[in-house]
Amino acid sequence: MKLRVAGIGVLAVLAWLLPYQLDSYLIHVANVVILFAILAIGLGLVMGIAGQINLAQIALFGVASYATAILTTRAGFGFWTAAALAMLIVAAIGLLIGTPALRMQSHYLGIVTLGLALALTNWVTNAHIAGGAEGITGIPAPTLPGIDLRNDYFFYYLELIVFALALAFGLFVVRTPLGRKMRAMRDDSLAAGAVGVEVPQLRMTAFFLASIYGGVAGVLYAGLIRYVAPETFSIANMFLLLAMVIIGGRQSLVGCVVGAVALSLLREVLVDYPTYAQVAYGTIVVLTVVFAPTGLAGLPVRARGLLQRLGWLRRDTGAPPKLGDFRPYDEVERPAEQVILRIDDVSMHFRGLKALQEVTMEITSGEIRGVVGPNGSGKTTLFNVVSGLYRPTSGRVWLGERDLTAARPHTLARAGVARTFQNLRLFPLLTVRENLLVALDQTSVLGSWRYALWQPGVWRHDRALRRQADELLDRFGLTAFADAAPGELPYGTQRRVEIARAMARHPRLLLLDEPAAGLNGEEVRQLSEIVRSIRSTGVTVVLIEHNMGLVMSLCERVTVFASGRVIADGTPAEVARAPQVVEAYLGDSAMSEDVPVATATEATR
C-alpha cells in the first residue's frame, strides 16, 4: 500500500514535470496521447468492466467534438457553455447507442454499434451544419482566467488534471458497488440477475459512462485541435482504440491507459511508416488475444506464475487456508404458516419439448421442501421459472400475494427469492468477498447519481457493505478465502460460497439446485447443518437434490417429478413408498411392493 502511494506520487510528479522535457511538437503529441488515454478508460469501462462490445466509442468522441464545434462556431456559445451542452448531447446519444444492448449482446451488439457509428460519421460528412468533409475550423480556444489555453503546455496541465480525475473516478467506480455489479454482469449476467443486479439498467449505465468519457475527450479535443473533421472519427481509429484497450488489458483501467500510451507512442515512432505501424499493431492484437488475453495489465501475474513454474520464484508454501466452521444463525420464532410460493398450473414448452406440464405446488413459509426426480424430469426448469430466467408457457407463479409470473430475475431477487445453480455460477473474476458484496448491495442502479454528486456517500455505503461481507464470510467460515478467486477453491468451498452469496440477499425463499452434488460425506453433513440453520431464521428453503439420504433427513415434504409432472407429494416416507415413485426411479412398479416402511429421520451419510 505504501509502495503504491509512493508510486502514484512519483508518477504524478513525473507527469507534472514532463513538459519541461518536451518541445512544442512533443507536448502536442503528449496532449493527444492523454486524450486517447481518457477514451480508452471509457472503452475499458463499457467493454472490459461491463462486458458490452461498443464499437461506437470513437463516434461518441466525435459527437462531443462536433457538438462543441457547432455550438461555438455556429451558435456563438462560449467554449465552456458549449462543452456543457455537448456533454448532455453525447450522454443522450450514448444512451441511444446503448439501447440495442437491451436486446442483444456480443457480435450482434458489435455490428449494431459499428453500424450506428458509421451512420453518425455519414451524417457529419453530409450535414451542412457540420461543415461536411471539410469539417469545422475556427473553434475558439477555451479560456481560463489568467491562463492561455492556446498554449499547448498549459493545455497539457488542464488535460492532466482532467485525466487524473477521470482515472480516479473510473477506478472509484470499479472498486465500489456500481463497478462491482458491472463486473458481475460481465462475468455472468444470469447469475448477476439472480442476485438482484438490474442488468438492463446497468447496461445502459455502462454506455452512459462510456459516453461521458468519450464526451470529455471530445470536448478537450475540440479545445486542443480547434478543428474537427470526419476522418478523425473513422472506423480505422475505432479499431486503433480497441487495440489499445485489448493490448493494455481490457479488464484493468490502468491497463487501458498503459495500452493507449504504448500504442500512441508506437504510432508516433512509426509515424513515417503508417502501414507498417498498422501491421505491427494488428499483429500485436492477434498475439495478445491468443497468448495474453489479459493484456499488458495481466503480464505481472502471468510472469509470476511462469517464474514459479520455473522454480525461480518461491511459491507461497504456507499451509493452504482451511474452510472454517459455519457459525449458526440465531434462531428466530417461526412465523405463522402461510403459503409463500404458489405455482399454479405452470407449463413450460421448448419448441415441442414439454419440460413442465401443468405443475401445481404450494410451499409454506418456514419449510424445507425437497424436489426430486430422475434426470430430465423438469426440476431445474421449475427453478428457472420461479427465479425468472424462463417465462412459463402458461400458468402463474405467486410469491406471497404478489403475482411474479413474468418478472425479471432481478425483480424476483429483490422480492426475496435467492437461488444457487446446479453447475455453480460464481463470478469467476471477482474475489469471494466481491461475490458476496455484489449480492449484499441492495441499492438500485438508478441510485448511481450519487457517484456524480456525493461520492463520500458511496464510499460510506461501500464501507458498510464490506463490514456486512466480513460478517457473512466469518459466519460461513470463508474468511481465509476472502480474497481468493472462486476458481482456485476446492469444489465444496465454492458450493458454500454460492450459498453464502444467496444468503447475502436476506431472502425469504432460498432455492438450492443440487447443493450436495460433488460434496463428500463430511461436507454433506455440514450442508444439512447450514440449511437447517438458514431455515431457523425463518427462510423457506426448496432444494433439488439427488442425494436421497440428505433429502430424506432434511426435508419435511418432498415433491417428486417425472417427465415434467408432479407424480407424488408428501413426507419423505410417504413418497418413498409410492409405487409411481419407485417406478420412476427403478423402472419397476412391482419392486415397490416389498419396500419396507422408511424411517425418515436418520441421515445416511
Binding site: 506520487g9 507534472w16 502536442h28 460528412t125 468533409a133 471539410e134 469539417g135 503546455y153 476522418e231
Partner: protein, 384 residues
C-alpha cells in the same frame, strides 16, 4: 502511522507545488528560436498524403517539388545555402495534419509546400498562421480562401475559376442548357458542386438533376439512372480521379452516351484508365495545365520530369513545381527571410509558370484562368 502518513502527504504536496511554482515563473517550452539562423540548409517541409487512398496525389506533388528544388540546389542553392526538403505524411487525415503543423514548426522549417487535400490544409492553417510559416498549397477549394490566412497561398486557381471557365464554355460557347450534376460530398466534390452551381446560376441555368454521392461510394446505378431519365446534354462531375472514372464507366454501362464535363481530375490518365479509354472520349475538361505540349516551358519541364522520374509529367506535378519555384524565388528576393517577411515576399512574387502568370492578390490566389480541353482520341487537347 498517522504522522508518517501526514509527512508523506506533505512531501507529496511539495512535489506538486514545486512544479506549479516553476510553471508560474516560466512556462515550459519556448523552442521556436532556431528558424532564424542564417547558416546551414534552408529547411522546407512538404506535407502530403504519402499513404492512404490519396497517396498518388502526394507522390506527384513530391516529384514536382523535388524537381524544382534539385534544379536550384544544382545551381548552388540560395545565398550559398542548400535547400533541404523534409517530407511528411499526413495520411489524408486533418488531425494528423494539425500534428504535423506543430511538428514542422518545432523542427524549424521556414515554409511548407502542400497539401493536396483542402480539408487538411484548412485544418493546418491556423497553426501555421500562429507559427508564421508560409504555406503554398495545391488545394483549390474556395474554403481555403475563406480561411483568410495571410500565410496561405494557392499554387493554382480555385474551383470557382475552374468551374466559371467550364460553365462559360458549356453554356455560353456551346449553348448546352440541359446539364445534370453528380458530385461527391467530400471536400473537393462539395467545392466543385457549389462553384459550378453558382456559375450556372449566374447564367440563369438550373441543373436538371443534382445528384450527390458519398466520397467512398463505388456504385452509382441509382444516381445515374435518375440522371438518364432526365436526358441531359452534358453531365458535370465533381469528384476525384478514381471516382470520376467509375462514374463514367458505370454511366456508359447504363447506356448514357452524352459527354461528361469536369475540372482537373478529368484530365488525368488515372481517370481515363479507370473509366476505360473509349468511355472518356469527348469529356470536357477545365484545367490550367492541359498537357505537356502547351508551351516551351512545359515541354522543358516534362522532359526534365521524365528524365528524373522516368514517367510522364501531369498537372499536379506541374502545380507543385510552380508553387515551389514561387517559394524559392521569394526566398531569394528576400534573402531567406522567414515569417511575415517571407509571406510578403511570396505575395510580391510575379512568376511566369507552367500554369500561367502568377500574381497574388490578398486572398492568396495567384492565378485566375484555366483553359478548356476535350479528350479526343484518348488525348486531352485544347478546345477550339
Amino acid at each position: 502511522m498517522f504522522s508518517s502518513l501526514r509527512r508523506r502527504a506533505a512531501v507529496m504536496l511539495l512535489g506538486l507545488a514545486l512544479p506549479v511554482a516553476l510553471a508560474a515563473c516560466s512556462a515550459p517550452g519556448g523552442d521556436q528560436g532556431d528558424s532564424n539562423k542564417t547558416d546551414g540548409p534552408i529547411k522546407i517541409a512538404l506535407v502530403d498524403a504519402q499513404s492512404g487512398q490519396l497517396s498518388s496525389l502526394g507522390a506527384w506533388e513530391l516529384k514536382g517539388a523535388r524537381l524544382a528544388i534539385d534544379e536550384w540546389n544544382a545551381a548552388g542553392g540560395i545565398n550559398g545555402r542548400q535547400i533541404e526538403l523534409g517530407v511528411f505524411d499526413d495520411q489524408g487525415d486533418p488531425t494528423v495534419g494539425t500534428n504535423l503543423a506543430r511538428k514542422i514548426a518545432s523542427e524549424g522549417y521556414i515554409a511548407m509546400i502542400g497539401t493536396a487535400e483542402s480539408a487538411v490544409t484548412i485544418a493546418m492553417a491556423p497553426i501555421l498562421r500562429e507559427s508564421k510559416i508560409p504555406n503554398i498549397t495545391s488545394g483549390q477549394s474556395p474554403g481555403l480562401v475563406a480561411v483568410k490566412s495571410p500565410f496561405l497561398f494557392l499554387n493554382g486557381p480555385t474551383s470557382v475559376t475552374y468551374d466559371e471557365t467550364l460553365a462559360k464554355y458549356i453554356v455560353d460557347t456551346k449553348g448546352l442548357k440541359n446539364i445534370a450534376m453528380i458530385t461527391n460530398n467530400g471536400g473537393y466534390g462539395k467545392g466543385e458542386h457549389d462553384a459550378f452551381t453558382k456559375s450556372l446560376q449566374a447564367r440563369g441555368v438550373k441543373p436538371i438533376e443534382d445528384q450527390v454521392v458519398t466520397a467512398d461510394q463505388k456504385d452509382f446505378s441509382a444516381a445515374l439512372t435518375t440522371i438518364r431519365q432526365k436526358n441531359p446534354q452534358v453531365i458535370f462531375i465533381g469528384a476525384e480521379e478514381v471516382q470520376s472514372g467509375l462514374i463514367v464507366k458505370q454511366a456508359r454501362d447504363l447506356g448514357i452516351t452524352v459527354p461528361f464535363a469536369g475540372a482537373a481530375p478529368q484530365g488525368t490518365p488515372v481517370f481515363a484508365d479507370t473509366a476505360g479509354t473509349a468511355n472518356v472520349e469527348g469529356t470536357i475538361v477545365s484545367s490550367p495545365y492541359l498537357s505537356n505540349e502547351v508551351s516551351e516551358a512545359s515541354k522543358k519541364f516534362a522532359a526534365a520530369y521524365k528524365a528524373k522520374f522516368n514517367e510522364d509529367a501531369e498537372m499536379h506535378g506541374a502545380k507543385a513545381y510552380d508553387g515551389t519555384q514561387i517559394l524559392l524565388n521569394a526566398l531569394k528576393t528576400s534573402n531567406v527571410a522567414t515569417g511575415q517577411a517571407l509571406a510578403d515576399a511570396i505575395r510580391a512574387t510575379k512568376y511566369a509558370g507552367l500554369l500561367g502568370d502568377f500574381a497574388f492578390d490578398d486572398t492568396g490566389v495567384g492565378i485566375f484562368a484555366t483553359r478548356i480541353g476535350t479528350i479526343q482520341g484518348g488525348k486531352l487537347v485544347a478546345a477550339g
